[in-house]
């Protein structure tokens, strides 16, 4: 096995030359991963600026800053940009960077397709964001793009709704879908085909497992979204009747197809986060993860359940009773594997010799705050209760707890955790902690009051509201501005670490870190492994005989 390679069969064996060659024509998983991460950070700030507009308008009752139509454009674009532009590309970027290192592969299985997956994204988002400058404005029917809001019959709607943005948004989503599907195919082929000898499936890090299952979800549901938005497009421009009852169609059909995509999609945005937290916590608790196999099976179980719960987004449309009950129980079932994961994270920390560096702080905050989001999700799963909560700020609070303090916090944990490995330099721990504490305090000021607003009946997606909701909204807005500002610290820490930090990182970086990626230098060589590495069990985080 351990041949000494004296010659190099790589076609790509020169060190990167020009800027264009290195970054635009790349076949290197690290460079493409970096591109994904920079793109994601950019979109995080663009989507965040839309959120600032929303919170500024909601600072007090009445219409102060923006018109209702523009407000709706902001809510729609905020969601589309954050979901497809910030969260998903961040996970793909992390997967790109870390999966080959973690399994002892030289690169992704299909490196050129990898580059295409990335380069589609800037164009897709240029297309999407350009709609804000169209006459008539961008899409404003919510990110779910329900046909009733988005497809209007030719003569009916007020002028402001007669925007051509739907076509641009639909094509942008087609492009994002193509990008995601290719990225997912690449990740599956990499994990199944490129592992170093000895890296058995059940020795892989949980992060790799979580991405394997997420990639399957992506391939299964992104085409369904493409189908759904294609039907919207033909209903608007080609006179089909999929969602038009006059012609025998049904607007609820769109919701079914959309949420068949949409629910697996929310797990696409959280399963890699589970993977990240399952890497970070064992490192700083200095213990192997508790119940490795249970963690893997739980992820697979959640992924399976995600296909049979979609209609819990639609309880209020008037489903048949049997459907309501089925989807309610199936939804509550998800709490079981999720509970397994939460308890296993806690058990991993239990009795560990813990230290609290920034990645660990974010990971612990993830466990606590994601669990809050999980519990509000359980409340929403109850049909009778959901009739009350549906389309209120309670829902907004719920999914921001799982997506901001869940997915985004995990991405921040991952950034601090692996940044020294990527750059070869340590980030500034003090400012990292400042970023953490600001984020964790203000995110709760931002989203916790929204639970009360929702329970009191404040509907979502409105620019104006009853004065009774004024106090909590002001509180939430202040939290929002400060949370937004805190992210500038994040940017500062990253830039400092990448360009100015003097403190060299060691290969292992963290005392308790285990896994192949930590056996490489920091930063790793341009090609991590030119020959398959020898996998030694004691280097692995998991897969020992006693696990």
């Amino acid at each position: 096995m351990a041949h000494e390679a004296t010659h190099d069969l790589h076609d790509d064996h020169h060190e990167p030359q020009g800027f264009f060659q290195r970054w635009v024509m790349s076949t290197n998983h690290k460079d493409i991963g970096t591109l994904y991460l920079i793109f994601s950070l950019t979109m995080f700030f663009i989507g965040g600026s839309f959120a600032m507009v929303i919170r500024a308008e909601l600072f007090k009752p009445g219409l102060q800053l923006v018109q209702p139509y523009f407000f709706n454009e902001m809510t729609t674009m905020h969601a589309l940009v954050m979901i497809f532009g910030a969260i998903m590309p961040a996970f793909v970027g992390l997967g790109n960077w870390m999966i080959p290192l973690m399994i002892g592969a030289p690169d992704m299985a299909l490196p050129r397709m990898n580059n295409l997956s990335f380069w589609i994204l800037p164009f897709a988002f240029a297309l999407l964001l350009s709609t804000l400058f169209l006459p008539g404005g961008g899409p404003a029917g919510g990110w779910t793009m329900y046909g009733g809001y988005i497809v209007q019959p030719p003569a009916g709607p007020p002028l402001s709704l007669q925007t051509g943005s739907l076509a641009y948004a639909v094509f942008a989503i087609h492009l994002m879908g193509i990008s995601s599907i290719m990225g997912a195919i690449n990740i599956i082929a990499t994990i199944l085909n490129m592992r170093a000898p000895g890296m058995d499936l059940l020795k892989m890090p949980v992060f790799v497992w979580s991405w394997l299952i997420t990639a399957f979800l992506l391939i299964a549901v992104m085409p369904v979204l493409a189908g759904a938005v294609t039907m919207l497009l033909t209903d608007k421009y080609f006179g089909t009747s999929f969602f038009n009852p006059h012609g025998g169609g049904d607007p609820v059909l769109y919701q079914h197809v959309f949420w068949f995509f949409g629910h697996p999609e929310v797990y696409i945005m959280i399963l890699p986060a589970f993977g990240i937290v399952s890497e970070v916590i064992p490192t700083f608790a200095r213990k192997p993860i508790f119940g490795y196999r249970a963690m893997v099976y739980a992820i697979a179980c959640i992924a399976f359940l995600s296909f049979i719960v979609w209609a819990h987004h639609m309880f209020a449309v008037g489903l048949p009773l049997g459907a309501d009950i089925f989807f309610m129980y199936a939804t509550m079932l998800i709490a079981v594997p999720t509970g397994v994961k939460v308890f296993n994270w806690v058990a991993t920390m239990w009795g560990g010799s813990m230290t609290f560096e920034t990645p660990m702080l974010f990971a612990i905050a993830f466990v606590i705050l994601f669990t809050i989001g999980g519990f509000s999700g359980l409340m929403l799963a109850l049909v009778p209760a959901d009739f009350q909560y549906h389309d209120t700020y309670f829902v907004v609070a719920h999914f921001h707890y799982v997506l901001v303090t869940g997915a985004a916090f995990a991405i921040m944990a991952a950034t601090y955790y692996w940044l020294p490995k990527w750059t070869g330099h340590m980030y500034n721990e003090f400012w990292g902690k400042v970023h953490f504490w600001c984020s964790v305090v203000f995110v709760n000021v931002l989203f916790f009051p929204q639970h009360f607003l929702g329970l009191a009946g404040m509907p979502r997606r409105i620019p104006d509201y009853n004065v009774a909701f004024a106090d909590f909204n002001m509180m939430s807005s202040i939290g929002g501005f400060l949370f937004g500002a805190s992210q500038l610290i994040f940017l500062g820490v990253i830039v400092h670490c990448a360009f100015f930090s003097k403190k060299k990182a060691t290969d292992r970086v963290w005392e308790g870190a285990r896994g192949l990626e930590w056996t490489l230098s920091s930063p790793p060589p341009h090609h991590s492994f030119t020959v398959p590495p020898v996998v030694r069990d004691e280097e692995l985080a998991h897969g020992h005989a006693d696990d």
Binding site: W119, G239, G248, V531
Partner: protein, 295 residues
């Protein structure tokens, strides 16, 4: 499983991914502009979409050209071959899910939305207040909904052209398999004959389908506007027809590559990938024949 290779292969840098991203962008940008153009102002969108489409064709040509060159030079080892196979398999799976969305829409409409509009189950009030003249039915009797969108129409008879097309596609799946066996046995003449037959059968299918579409539009008044019946009929058969078109082009390219001697008995993944794709298109058609034409 992991391959026991001594040295990994990583392909060289390539300009094709960025070219692909640009031409895909131009295509959809042109299309979006065209869709929204006022009458007489569509020129810009049309120009952009034309440039984009030509670019897409050129991009495929160039990208595959470089891949074929590298493959013939023997750069690709068994591990790369497995990656390609997995890539193609999962791509076809994504296509299955894409068709699944439209089949799902068809089943939902036939099993739920049409009966509900006719007053069944919890659709009773909708029926009574909005559509009390409508009795649920599929096909010509009610497939275009309570408001008879698109006017009266007739459906395509399943046991005419569609049956013939079914036989044509099934035969083509057999001929492509015979060609594959011939390839593994090294009979070049036989490959060219049966692969050529497959291409011809694909083209014949497309000719008949075009004929069926024209008849539907001109004589049956069955159009894309014929309510949800027309919507599902043309979307499902149309996307399938698009895939047959692509498959036929791919088969024709493979035929040319056989002619140039690109494939060996052992290494012919390009051939196999296209054959898989062709079988997939065939299976989708069987679903269409059953659920769109017969039932």
């Amino acid at each position: 499983m992991s391959q026991q290779q001594d040295i990994y292969y990583v392909p060289s840098k390539s300009q094709w991914p960025i070219v692909a991203a640009v031409v895909m962008f131009l295509t959809v940008f042109g299309a979006a502009h065209w869709l929204n153009a006022e009458p007489g102002e569509a020129g810009f969108g049309k120009t952009v979409i034309t440039i984009g489409a030509i670019g897409v064709i050129g991009m495929f040509f160039g990208w595959f050209h470089s891949v074929i060159k590298e493959s013939l030079a023997g750069h690709y080892n068994a591990q790369v071959d497995t990656s390609f196979r997995m890539g193609m398999m999962w791509f076809i799976f994504s296509e299955v899910m894409f068709f699944g969305a439209f089949f799902g829409a068809l089943f939902y409409i036939r099993n739920f939305s049409i009966p509900w509009l006719g007053g069944e189950g919890h659709g009773v009030l909708t029926h009574q207040f909005l559509y009390d003249h409508y009795s649920a039915a599929w096909g010509a009797a009610g497939g275009n909904g309570p408001m008879r969108i698109g006017g009266a129409f007739s459906t395509v008879e399943a046991w005419g052209l569609p049956l013939l097309n079914t036989l044509i596609l099934l035969t083509s799946s057999v001929t492509v398999t015979i060609a594959h066996h011939a390839l593994r046995a090294g009979h070049r003449g036989k490959i060219l004959l049966f692969l050529g037959l497959t291409v011809l059968l694909g083209a014949t299918f497309l000719y008949f389908q075009a004929h069926e579409y024209m008849e539907a539009y001109k004589e049956l008044n069955l159009t894309l506007h014929s309510g949800v019946y027309g919507s599902t009929f043309f979307m499902l058969t149309g996307f399938h027809g698009l895939h047959v078109t692509l498959g036929t082009i791919m088969l024709a390219v493979i035929w040319l590559r056989v002619l140039k001697g690109h494939f060996s008995k052992e290494h012919h993944f390009g051939f196999e990938a296209v054959a898989w794709y062709w079988h997939f298109v065939d299976v989708v058609w069987l679903g269409l024949f059953l659920f769109v034409y017969i039932l």
